[in-house]
Amino acid sequence: MEFDLSKPQKLLQKSARDVFARECPAKRVRELMATDTALDAKLWSTVADQGWLGIHLDESHGGLGLGTVDLAVVAEEMGRACFPGPFLGTVWAATLLSAAGGKSKFLEPLTTGAAKGAVALLEADGSWNPDHVQLKATAAGGGYKLTGRKAFVSDANVADTIVCVARGADGLVLLAVSAKDPGVKITPTSALDQTRKLADVTFEGVSVAADGVIATGEAARKALDHSLQVATLVTAADMLGGMQWILADSVEYAKTRQQFGKVIGSFQAVQHMCADMLLWTESSRSAIYYAAWALGAEPASAASAIANAKVYVSDASREVANRGVQVHGGIGFTWEHDLQLYYKRSKASEILFGDATYHREQVAALAFDA
């Protein structure tokens, strides 16, 4: 038994950390988040060139053929760097297309970086539960017609391909459309986390041809569920990277900031806050690494491992961010301190794919009702 990153995974970690340290310092993050897209073409092609957009996907699907642990390693480093841009949406869409069989023409451009992606799931009720999807897909010719509104769609504002989760006559339907298709209207929404943008997507009688039909019924649900697990993992690992940054930064600050003639890190109250931050961060790491491993190696445990991780990390990440501000005092509360970037991204991630309360109910269903 070996509960640690393998040597290649550690090299990957170092390489990702170096790339982001070099090409995505906080200054660059701030410039990018002030733009409409948060997208840096050069940075994006670096990520694409590394193969990270399909790192966990089969080579036959245009991926690197590594696993979900490797994906988590990259996502953690993105979180540590507050990496801006449409990684989440693109990886989610690619994973979904791959899980649905990998035959779609939309898949490869996503993994090569030629296209950006997004998955449109949420609707006005803000529910992450696919059972609540209502947007209608009406069979038309060999394809479908789509009408309705999706909300809170990560990265839709720069997506070339949008996979819409809709309700057909026989259950869920996954339909890939081009952002430029007639009737697709994308409206950016301004939100807390400016490093990863959200948008509303409206479908006004959009025609989806047969080659846009990714999956229907049971197969659609299965692919969607798997992709949700992977996307949740990416989010949780991103949160872990953020927690790690906040912890390190807070400890560093506590070692140098003086009040009452002593560094504040010598006060028990500050020490205990930092100790709790470490406990939450390391416990999150255990939960996330395990979920990443289970997702690849033990599919039967994957749903439960992911739900467990999102419960734990959603609360832990928020508390670490809160303690981080408290350790810093006033300066941690300012726009100029980089803590704010992580604070907001952490909060957005807490909401993404459902908060702790949502996932506790998933845990209960899996663990108690079986």
Binding site: Q258, F260, A269, I351
Partner: protein, 392 residues
Amino acid sequence: MDLGLTPSEQKFRDELRTWLKANLPPKTSHSVKNAASAAAYHAYLKDWQRKLYDGGYAGINWPKEFGGRGATFIEQAIFQEELALADAPERMGTIGQGLVGPTIITVGTEEQKKRYLPGILSGDEVWCQGFSEPNAGSDLASLETKAVLEGDEFIVNGQKIWTSYAHIADLCMLVVRTDTSAAKHKGLTCLLVDMKTPGITVRPLKMMSGDAGFNEMFFSNVRVPASCVLGAVNEGWHVAITALSNERANLGTGLYVMFKRNLEAVLVQAREMKRHGKPAIEDPVLRQKLAQAHVDLEVFRLNTTRALSQLNKTGIPGPEGSIQKLYWSELNQRNAQIAMEVLGPYAQLTEFDSGRWIYNYLRCRGNTIEAGTSEVQRNIIAQRVLGLPRSY
């Protein structure tokens, strides 16, 4: 024990209500968030303060001889509550009326009283408070801004931070170091400084929410007449503490109404938002959290009322103010989190409900830091209320 209002308290409240009905200005569309309309907004607030003054509602707890109303602490609380209930504009004069004025009354000279008190009451002169520095936050006694006496003027050099209203203030109650050889607490002096004095630069300080709630102030060879010392030279620590306990005596009556309104707004959302296909307010899990928010808020109201009743007897604001501060700051953070949970993904939208939820969530992080961190408040409670020995 009688929690009802006495006849005179009731009379005060009824008169105030009547007065508010007649005098409350219409809502303004101006706000500080928009630089273009900020000036208009400040003029609006000045008008409002003037109106309060003319109505006899400025400095209501100041002694009558200084132009105040001589109201009790409970009447003061009623005043704040009624203003909040009526959704009255903010009072730009709070630092002057709550903090500077009472301190001048306590330790100021006759000349200072004559010079400053009327402007505070009328709202013609806005004050700010220059205490905190980058290296002196929780540890106020470490402040480094220096003042050196040259002839009959102090020459001030240094930097202050977290100064609300500095960008529009006419005057500043400034604490500076006048004796660098004395022990930390003993070399401080309090100066009343005209903000138009050459050498003062004010720079807005953006909070993480992106709003500019505070300022930095830079002092470069600023000349302050020696007659502007409040209290005695090198007695500034004592003066600052007096000012801060006057501030604490406030006890958060106005805050209660603000928090209560927030909760009511969350409940409105919880009735509209869906959870598991039903109104969120019917979700048993959210109900538990909302009920706890309700209870915590009610306990805050009761704590405040009880402390006020105590203060009304003793007249001296004590370390109990730390209990209120600790309680409301952590309560507001808990309840902001509950609001976010109720709102789900909507919580994060800057345009949703005018962005009030995000603003509230981010702003409340400062609550456990500003005006004494929660850690400092717990130290104060442990040492001054419970009598435990100093920990550092």
